[in-house]
Symmetry: C2
Subunit: 692 residues, 2 copies
């Protein structure tokens, strides 16, 4: 990647003599951004562009440039890239649009591009990209003139669009380096992450993601970085309409958004959902050492904002720090004995009576930061442009506070009033201090640093890729496995199943029931009756031989009447189980592969969607986390005199299921519904496996 961000020399194909307004000339922009290395320009007719001699073809260029940047029309891209490859150029940026982002022809062109480079080990960034930006070394391939940060921050952006480079302020706030992978035909998030992992100038990684490829490798690489450098991800296309739009933008196929959540969770990525949150979180990481606990002390010039902060803490997972008693005697003022001191600390009355508001703020900030129970401070105060309020200045005082504090603990500020913007810019320069656009933004930012702190401490290393095991494949002539045949596979993976047998002989069923014990259940097994309950193909609570016999014959007749030509595997007779009705499942995600699901089963399952997903394989601890984070978990712990369900068995079964999912990529979908959870264990009662 180094050649893409800091090339020794550059070849440009597709620039013209057009300059200035509306030209979008990337030679002009590159020079303005600060690139000082040699630039070779290929042009079919001009002899010189902006003082650079031109060459008729790539072959004529006197050196092998480190990087080629191609911005010709899509039909000319493949020949130009062929020339570059032939020349021996190893790194190519294709700016041009109209590939997988456009139509079938574009997709075919992109495939050609990839194959002709991959064979030769040539790396391609794009197509449909703005390319790279490097404020440290002064390099940009953009065709839009972007302001270069004079003191580049250690933040690297990897995006699927150039808009995050053009609209820096609105997205990450500032940029040290950026890579726009565009359609990501070759270089993708994995390559960019690997670069960031080793780059000493990257301390914070921000991803803007529309889709994913090699999901497992991505997660493995991300997980290896996530506890050293925060990885913030804005994954868009969350909604159905958004996912459709993503497909037409970069040709990204987007899977279920909840699976991305599960994947990010597993790898330790910090997901943000909006631009507002992205800005806030980037700012926090750029200014703060992470909060080492959830406790926030709030200093405010107004009680109203204390209330809003308390609300925001609950929204984003922080809490109000206990008010330190040591601070009480320091701050109390006998002239307003009625003034209540607590957290949030309403400072205004103290400032009005005690003299100056900034002085009180300084004293309070010191006292609260000194408390072990405070992990960060949010200071909320006014700054007015009016000369009447020229005393409301905070830079020097916060500098003093942070010197004593050693800027160990974050001080987030929100300044309001008509002089606020300039004040905020000054305060942002104080180490360990950052001003946010509002209370919610400040709390979002702080909360993200605390999340990163917890990621740093996470001991368990997760596994994303397990070596392939050679095992017998699951086979089914019609691609679907039901009843006992499916249950047999569950047992192989240690998932307990309800005792049962399948037969077409009523007497065999009666005999089996007699031996195993009543009550039993009878179920029709047929690919025509997959939703057998709805079809009336299940009879429960059969507690003597006669009833079993009668129900058996009844079911046979009912099925035959409904499906005269249906394929009847037999009638399953099963010991009747009871307990909490749950469901297990396997799904296969286009990006991340096998996903296991656990949730509430039964008739309410669909409306409440109380499910947790995790990428297979899952460890026992992960399985327990999934179960204990279900909404119905309090019930599983035991209520109303009922004993708790045996959670360890459930978790162990889930681990087994995740192994099955991993070992058998031929399983497209698997549903165990229901699984009963009870005091002594758990038990799968019905299973359906779809291959494909």
């Amino acid at each position: 990647m180094e050649a893409f961000l800091n090339p020794k020399s550059v070849l440009l194909v597709g620039v013209t003599r057009r300059t200035g307004v509306g030209a979008y000339n990337n030679l002009e922009v590159m020079r303005r951004y600060g690139y000082r290395g040699p630039v070779f320009v290929v042009h079919p007719s001009e002899t010189e562009i902006f003082g650079h001699p031109t060459y008729r073809s790539v072959a004529e260029v006197p050196q092998v440039p480190d990087l080629a940047v191609v911005s010709v029309g899509r039909d000319r891209v493949v020949p130009v890239v062929e020339d570059c490859v032939r020349k021996g150029i190893r790194n190519i940026v294709v700016i041009s649009q109209g590939f997988a982002d456009a139509d079938a022809e574009g997709r075919a062109l992109q495939d050609t591009l990839v194959s002709l480079c991959r064979d030769k080990g040539v790396r391609v960034l794009g197509p449909n990209t703005m390319g790279t930006l490097n404020a440290f070394d002064g390099f940009s391939t953009a065709f839009i003139d972007i302001a270069r940060d004079p003191a580049p921050p250690p933040l690297t952006l990897v995006a699927q669009s150039g808009v995050l480079q053009v609209g820096i302020e609105s997205f990450t706030g500032r940029l040290g380096k950026a890579i726009d992978i565009g359609n990501g035909c070759d270089i993708h998030f994995v390559d960019a992450l690997r670069y960031c992992a080793d780059d000493p100038k990257t301390e914070i990684i921000v991803l803007h993601m529309e889709g994913m490829r090699d999901g497992r490798t991505f997660l493995e690489v991300a997980a290896s970085i996530a506890s050293r450098k925060p990885i913030v991800v804005l994954k868009t296309g969350r909604s159905r309409a958004g996912a459709r739009a993503a497909l037409s933008h970069t040709g990204s196929m987007v899977g279920e958004d909840a699976v991305f959540d599960a994947a990010f969770q597993k790898a330790g990525l910090i997901r943000v959902r909006t631009m507002v949150e992205l800005r806030a979180v980037c700012k926090a990481f750029l200014h703060f050492r992470p909060m080492v606990g959830p406790n926030l002390a709030v200093l405010t010039a107004t009680g109203a904002c204390g209330i809003m902060t308390a609300d925001a803490c609950e929204d984003f997972g922080l809490q109000l720090a206990p008010f330190p008693e040591a601070a009480r005697s320091l701050l109390e003022n006998p002239k307003i004995a009625w003034h209540h001191l607590g957290n949030p600390v309403d400072l205004w009355p103290l400032g009005m009576v005690g003299g100056s508001f900034p002085e009180v703020l300084e004293k309070a900030a010191e006292a609260l930061l000194a408390s072990e129970d405070t992990h960060a401070v949010l200071a909320i105060f006014p700054r007015m442009a009016s000369p009447l309020h020229d005393n409301l200045r905070y830079e020097a005082l916060l500098r003093r506070v942070q010197e004593k504090n050693g800027s160990r603990k974050p001080i987030a500020c929100w300044v309001y009033g008509d002089g606020a913007r300039e004040e905020a810019e000054r305060l942002d320069r104080v180490p360990g201090v950052a001003c946010f656009a509002g209370i919610d933004e400040a709390v979002m930012g702080l909360a993200a640093t605390y999340r990163f702190h917890r990621l740093r401490q996470r001991a368990v290393s997760k596994t994303f890729v397990v070596p392939a095991q050679v095992r017998e494949k699951i086979q089914a002539p019609k691609g679907m496995l039901l009843g006992e045949a499916a249950m047999e596979w569950l047992r192989r993976y240690g998932i307990p199943t309800a005792p049962s047998m399948v037969t077409d002989e009523p007497e065999a069923a009666v005999g089996w029931a007699h031996q195993t014990g009543f009550p039993v259940v009878l179920k029709v097994v047929s690919p025509q009756w997959v939703h057998k309950s709805d079809a009336g193909g299940v009879v429960t609570g059969l507690d003597d031989p006669d009833v079993v016999r009668g129900a058996f014959n009844d079911l046979m007749q009912r099925f035959r009447a409904a499906c005269p030509d249906g394929e009847l595997t037999g009638i399953q007779v099963q010991k009747q189980m009871s307990g909490w009705e749950m469901l297990f499942g396997i799904k296969r995600d286009p990006q991340f592969g096998p996903v296991v699901v656990v949730g509430m089963g039964g008739i309410y399952a669909e409306v409440f969607q109380d499910v947790r997903r995790a990428l297979a394989p899952v460890s026992f601890e992960e399985a327990m986390d999934m179960i204990t984070s279900l909404r119905l978990y309090p019930l599983l712990r035991g209520v109303r005199g009922q004993p708790p369900a045996h959670l360890e068995s459930l978790a162990a079964a889930l681990v087994g299921l995740s192994k099955l999912a991993w070992d058998h990529p031929e399983v497209a979908e698997l549903d165990i519904n229901p699984v009963f959870a009870f005091a002594e264990g758990c038990c799968a009662v019905d299973c359906r496996i779809i291959l494909g």
Copy 2:
């Protein structure tokens, strides 16, 4: 209220000669803000302040001023107010803190203040307030110098804090008028709303609310305005920590936040949850005519932002407009036949190939606005400070577009890039155009205008206050009514109940069951066993006389063993019902009075909290809305071959319950759990009424 916002003359008590920085002198601030009327100053020792002669006491003032503004220490407030009342002053602002916001003594002082004014019909604003602001007429009682809007917007703020006046930009963006009710000892939201209703300079009403009083009257007044003028409410103290903080800020007792939701919903208020949302929504109302449908057309310079917009639409209840076919031929460019035209419209390729991006934007905006299926446009485009991009100017073009459009349909913009802020300020001046801080903000704002459109169309007028009816009070010696005694009250309000009787004779139970039909249920009725299921006091599925007899004796013994001195009303024998298990309830909210609740019953009720609340009385339509918006509603419509539940019966029962709640303020709490819903109707099975 007029005298509070535009007084003919003002009396100030509590100002000093201190001036300039740090003085917070409200005489100085008032004059700077633009008040030109006569100001009388009372001061015990000075003879003159800022050129105003002073008076030793209120009595000495030569006129009766229209408004008094009091900012002395809390101990001197009552005597000063007494002087004002004696003088004949009708309107008083008490700036001072330390009342119900502080301690018991402060609360008592506030009560004194209220009673001495109420008797004389004198109105008080505050205490603990910044008072009022009126940018039209140039009046402010604030002690902080606030910039006066040169072209005041028709937006009036009613708040419980001065911070929304000081931090205008961060909250409502701009302010025409503001009223800070502070502790709200006398003037409260209702008074302020009535003023706003009739004020021709108020078209948008914004409430910042920490707590509520006279909730019913408030809602009635609000509902009478809400379809003419949008009422936007930022209700804080949503969280438990926030509610605690609210109590200590303005002494507001805050009830359950979900009840506020139900109340706002009923009255047609537009609730916002964060400052970000408040700013966005205010801006939308200040700039736009409401969207008359949910369809948004998106014009964007980048596909990435189209995806983000699609996500935001789903988050906030808008949808992407269908792309109008008429626009296709207008915008298509044969040079990039691969370019996909749809909504969101990615304009950049068209701009690059077709000439100028702004030209394409203009053409596209016109074409999309012309479509009947487009209700608003969101335009997303870059503006760079660089001279290389000086062509990216939009003001004139949007002006042309809006002239053709007659600014009927909103054009929301989001401009990014390093020249964006100045461009946004210019665009904000184009009628019907508003620039937002980001995509989410734009969509939030637009969605609020569409919500207001629907409120304008709402035909049904809701009732908040019903004349009190003289009725028999519900009585119970120990404050709790159980079993049949409670069910009797349900029947009086037309709520069907399961047939049952209470007896302490086993044979009477057997006889009743025989007559009514098996199976039956037996339940212990005792105030000691309110949670009788958990205590083992319920036996179900009894289907013959012997079983009933055995279970009856068993229950008697079990109760006696557990509670030797317990009070046993008897054993209830009840026909066993079945169906969907639901619950009904009545709660009494401190602000809004009787609230009815409907939700999922049974063992999952607590973990899923699938309930809907509404203020009593509820109409049949409201009751149907509550039921159909439950998450379990799809099940009630009938699933898996089961017939649908009889929704009309459920709704009618809920209406009856809401009448009971309204007629019987002595009912503190009522729970019907379960109510069974089935194909033919519904039926209450158990009820508990708590009085108090």
